[in-house]
Symmetry: C2
């Protein structure tokens, strides 16, 4: 892949939370582009981004920011994607490359196709950095958030190769690793490996918290439960948005999970030890088979 000279390019980061702020900071520190502009509709976030020197310029006027940009990284709550694209669309320069950080790609692609022109769509590279942190917001942004993390790009049929190459180059310049995946496949894989586990964890902590003796239940939290509570500490609104955005894939894997869980429940009820052993054994076997991947891999998942 030939590298493009990005020294004369202006990067605009729309949304200066943990995800956008960290991306801006990393690109600025690495000199990945000529200039980094940041936009946020929240004045405090803009102020924070300037104070922390995450960007070269903090712009409160979206129209002006978009008109100056050669590459735009959209890092807003996923359900706000369509409205921000609608606001930006009339002001995009011809050829400006767009990418985003949404955790579900099917909905974002629909949003893009509904709002952007055909020519603009050809410059859109849907993306999903597999990274995060317990804290959120501009003050939590850090330059190394994406180092050695996987970034999944899901180009649309109409996305132009040079746009994918430019986004890839930008991520690689800050130490990330790119995987290319089909849009639907991304949403199925993430539903299974991230969205469903979060749903199960939120549900467990909520179920147990309703118990009148919940303080004691937390007090005696053994290993299993503690891992669940860690997951359930994630931002409720962000997860609400993700489930709304990836409903179809989540439902599919959730219904498989529920059907199996009912069988396991009945095995417990009827003391069917053979069934239990087969489920637990399969799970352990699968886990051990892939433990090399999980423990030795150099790439980090959040």
């Amino acid at each position: 892949m030939t590298l493009t000279n990005l020294n004369d390019k202006t990067l605009l980061v729309v949304g200066l939370g943990l995800i956008g702020g960290s991306f801006a900071m990393a690109c600025k520190n690495h000199g990945s582009v000529g200039r980094v502009i940041g936009y946020d509709r929240d004045a405090e976030s803009l102020k924070g981004a300037m104070a922390r020197k995450l960007v070269d310029h903090a712009e409160s006027d979206l129209m002006a920011a978009v008109q100056a940009a050669d590459i735009i990284f959209i890092a807003v709550p996923i359900l706000a994607t369509r409205s921000i694209l609608t606001l930006m669309q009339p002001h995009l320069k011809p050829g400006t490359v767009l990418t985003d950080a949404g955790s579900a790609k099917g909905m974002v692609v629909s949003d893009a196709r509904a709002v952007l022109t055909v020519a603009q769509c050809a410059r859109f590279v849907p993306g999903h950095p597999i990274a995060g942190a317990e804290r959120s917001g501009v003050m939590a942004a850090k330059a190394d958030l994406y180092v050695n993390h996987r970034i999944i790009l899901t180009p649309m049929a109409e996305t132009e190769q040079d746009a994918v190459a430019m986004v890839t180059q930008l991520w690689e310049s800050i130490g990330s690793h790119i995987d290319i995946m089909a849009i639907d496949h991304h949403d199925d894989v993430l539903a299974a490996t991230s969205h469903l586990p979060h749903l199960l964890a939120f549900n467990l902590v909520d179920t147990l918290a309703k118990n009148t003796e919940n303080s004691e239940i937390f007090h005696y939290a053994a290993g299993g439960f503690r891992d669940f509570t860690r997951i359930a500490a994630s931002d409720p609104t962000m997860w609400h948005d993700i489930f709304m955005a990836n409903r179809k894939s989540v439902l599919l894997v959730m219904d498989q999970y529920l059907a199996e869980l009912h069988q396991l429940r009945n095995a417990v009820a009827h003391a069917d030890g053979d069934y239990m052993k087969s489920v637990f054994g399969n799970a352990k076997e699968a886990r051990d088979h892939f433990s090399q991947i999980l423990s030795d891999r150099q790439l980090k998942d959040e």
Copy 2:
């Protein structure tokens, strides 16, 4: 609580796996008792216990071992408790104190009452160390397994106070912390905080492993899923035994969980964002409320 002089006492550890072997090793290293005998029906485990100096004496004859013991720590698979008690019962010296390490206490108490005499039952102190490790067996035993861990004791109505005191003293001598809990309550709390989470994790990993694309699913495991696979790496037979031993409490909390999970499933299906937000918000609130307990506590749960 007045301390008893245990220097002239003989401790017998029945079952030299991770749990029994680590207890024997800790008591021997701390000089908690006069002598530590180990019994295991597996000759290799006995050999390993001697080679690693976990015990002063490895005894292959259970009858001889029991006849010599003043305190007996039973660390066998929980479903083997009744049969080992049946074998030991005729040979117990009057006054010998018995304790165990089973993860569910109701069944163990039934076993004791079915097999032991009234006088022997008065010397039985059901116990559950909240500790473990990924590896199992005598070679995995380590002297510090229980340091700063909680040990739950669930004395029966008929258990004598001095027996509870002696078992407490033994655990505290190796750096553990004792909590006293009612039998049924222990089983409910552990069903909620440990047994159900393990069931959910085994079920998730099994469901996803059945997927034809499971290698990719493990490959892209994001944070949520990785925590689940860690739990699912536990020993399948041990967990089968625990669910068989604690069926009633597990079913109770599992049915609450399933009822809630179906509501959440329907909220996803019908895009009911308010319901999702309330569940996720409650979970996060509960988690944050108790995060102090979970992160700052000095006691370790496995």
